[in-house]
């Protein structure tokens, strides 16, 4: 459920660069970042 997701996955601001410019999106990345 959400609780498991919160523990295993964390929200991240991810930077994207295209030919038109740069912006950021919120994505989920697994907790293996630790």
């Amino acid at each position: 459920g959400t609780e498991t997701k919160a523990r295993k996955w964390e929200q991240k601001q991810v930077q994207i660069k295209t030919l038109e410019g740069e912006f950021s999106v919120t994505m989920w990345a697994s907790g293996t970042d630790d």
Binding site: K8, W9, K12, V14, Q15, I16, K17, T18, L19, E20, G21, E22, F23, V25, T26, M27, W28, A29, S30, G31, T32, D33
Partner: protein
């Protein structure tokens, strides 16, 4: 890179099989010894990645400059079917990629390196501004952790290094180990050269977690036969090791096995039970023919829970050279009756017809005891995840430098029957679910080991 590594010439590519809708690869998380097995549950369908964009002008593998975002549609072993964002339901440019390869990254990887994402040629005119599209597609989606590639790299490192001395089962006399030196390591598979062998001897291959390889001093400690130079035997007696000697700390599985054995000993003492004794009958996988489970005898009980077993299918060798060492916690030995209970054909002792063998009569006739079932590991069945018909890559234990395409043809508790595609069932191998000789689809590609394809029988020439 096949171009720069001649050993990979002719390696089998799974890609055409992966497109078969019936194809199922055993998941990476089933292979505890495999790189990234611990983290693989976090790799999911629907995940977004940044991947080389091959749908562009002048694409060449030598100049892989262009990247775009793709969605993981399917996962088979280490391989994933990807579709570039913007293709919608159009599957024409879908492609399989090894998720652990260096052309796949977490979303955001390109921006960190200051590289813009370039949309594939097929869809580049579909949107005038890709920002809005990508925000919608990526917000709230999952991607790989930014440390994914480092984790892959870390998980590929061996505990061992070239030049270390180990004790390895002697391929020419399986009842003894022989001192050997590590010459090469590929994907934690170790190539050793035995001491004092001819130049044309091609040594032996095994995984670093294999039960066929032991630390220095092991044979001396457990009472196993060994072939070693005198100065090595002196070191065993003194316990003073060289810096090139691989000591017990490099063998965590065997250290754990030792702890398990000590627990078993104290448990048996508490219950006033005895463990394995010489002469006891068991069923065991034939180490020289892994497709057979045979009637066998415990010939000798060594220290620390090791047993010398003789397979009774063959004439007894007067020099005991056909004995083979199994640890008593090995999942390759079973209590008498295991095969019958699981509808497996038991290979009887020499002189018996298959089907005419009866354990009770045989125990009486030979006046021997059956090893009691509580002594065996077989009743511990982990939730291993392997199922019949799953595809994988497996070592040919009879020629362990070869890793081949294979299929699981049967699952009996923790025991797997592995079939080599294109070969007769006589070449099948019974292996434990935790065997380090089994690998996920895509492992060979990941570690740059050649993968042997299915045997193709060419039609006879007219």
């Amino acid at each position: 890179d096949k171009k720069s590594c001649p050993d990979l010439a002719g390696t089998f590519e799974w890609d055409s099989s992966l497109n078969d809708p019936a194809f199922v690869a055993a998941p990476v998380s089933c292979f505890q010894h495999a790189p990234m097995a611990d983290n693989w549950d976090n790799i999911t369908v629907g995940m977004k990645v940044e991947v080389q964009n091959t749908d562009c002008d002048n694409f060449s593998e030598d100049f892989p400059d262009s990247f775009w975002v793709a969605t993981v549609l399917k996962i088979q072993g280490y391989k994933a079917l990807l579709r570039y964002e913007g293709f919608g339901q159009n599957s024409s440019k879908d492609f399989w990629v090894n998720l652990c390869s260096s052309i796949v990254h977490h979303v955001g990887w390109c921006a960190i390196r200051g590289r813009p994402l370039i949309p594939p040629k097929t869809v580049e005119h579909k949107y005038t501004d890709w920002k809005d599209f990508l925000v919608k597609r990526l917000t709230g989606a999952r991607t790989l952790p930014s440390t994914f590639y480092n984790k892959v790299h870390e998980s590929l490192k061996s505990r061992f290094r070239c030049g270390l001395n180990v004790e390895v089962v002697d391929k020419n006399r399986i009842s003894q180990v022989k001192v050997a030196t590590i010459e090469k390591i590929i994907g934690k598979r170790i190539h050793v050269r035995y001491y004092e062998t001819d130049d044309d001897d091609n040594g032996f291959w095994c995984h670093e977690d294999s039960s066929l390889m032991h630390p220095v001093g092991w044979a001396h400690r457990v009472g196993h036969e060994i072939d070693a130079p005198p100065e090595y035997l002196d070191r065993c007696l003194s316990g003073v090791w060289d810096e090139d000697d691989a000591t017990e700390n490099l063998f965590p599985l065997q250290m754990r096995q030792k702890q398990q054995f000590n627990q078993i000993v104290s448990q048996l003492a508490t219950n006033k039970q005895t463990g394995f004794v010489e002469g006891m009958k068991v069923e065991a996988i034939d180490p020289l023919n892994l497709s057979s489970i045979c009637v066998a005898t415990v010939m000798k009980v060594l220290n620390e829970g090791y047993l010398m077993i003789r397979i009774e299918t063959y004439d007894a060798d007067i020099n005991c050279s056909d004995w083979f060492c199994y640890h008593q916690t090995s999942a390759c030995i079973f209590a008498p009756g295991f095969c019958e209970a699981n509808n497996i054909t038991l290979t009887p002792p020499k002189g018996f017809e298959i089907g005419a063998f009866n354990w009770n009569a045989y125990l009486q006739e030979t006046q021997s005891l059956a090893a009691p079932s509580f002594l065996f590991k077989q009743w511990e069945v982990p939730n291993h995840g392997f199922c019949q018909d799953m595809h994988l890559e497996a070592t040919d234990i009879m020629d362990p430098r070869l890793v081949c395409v294979a299929t699981i043809s049967r699952v009996v508790g923790r025991l797997l029957r592995v079939h080599f595609n294109g070969w007769e069932v006589e070449y099948d191998q019974w292996l434990d679910c935790s065997s380090p000789d089994l690998y996920p689809v895509g492992w060979c590609q990941l570690v740059s080991h050649k993968l042997e394809g299915p045997r193709v029988i060419s039609p006879p020439k007219v």
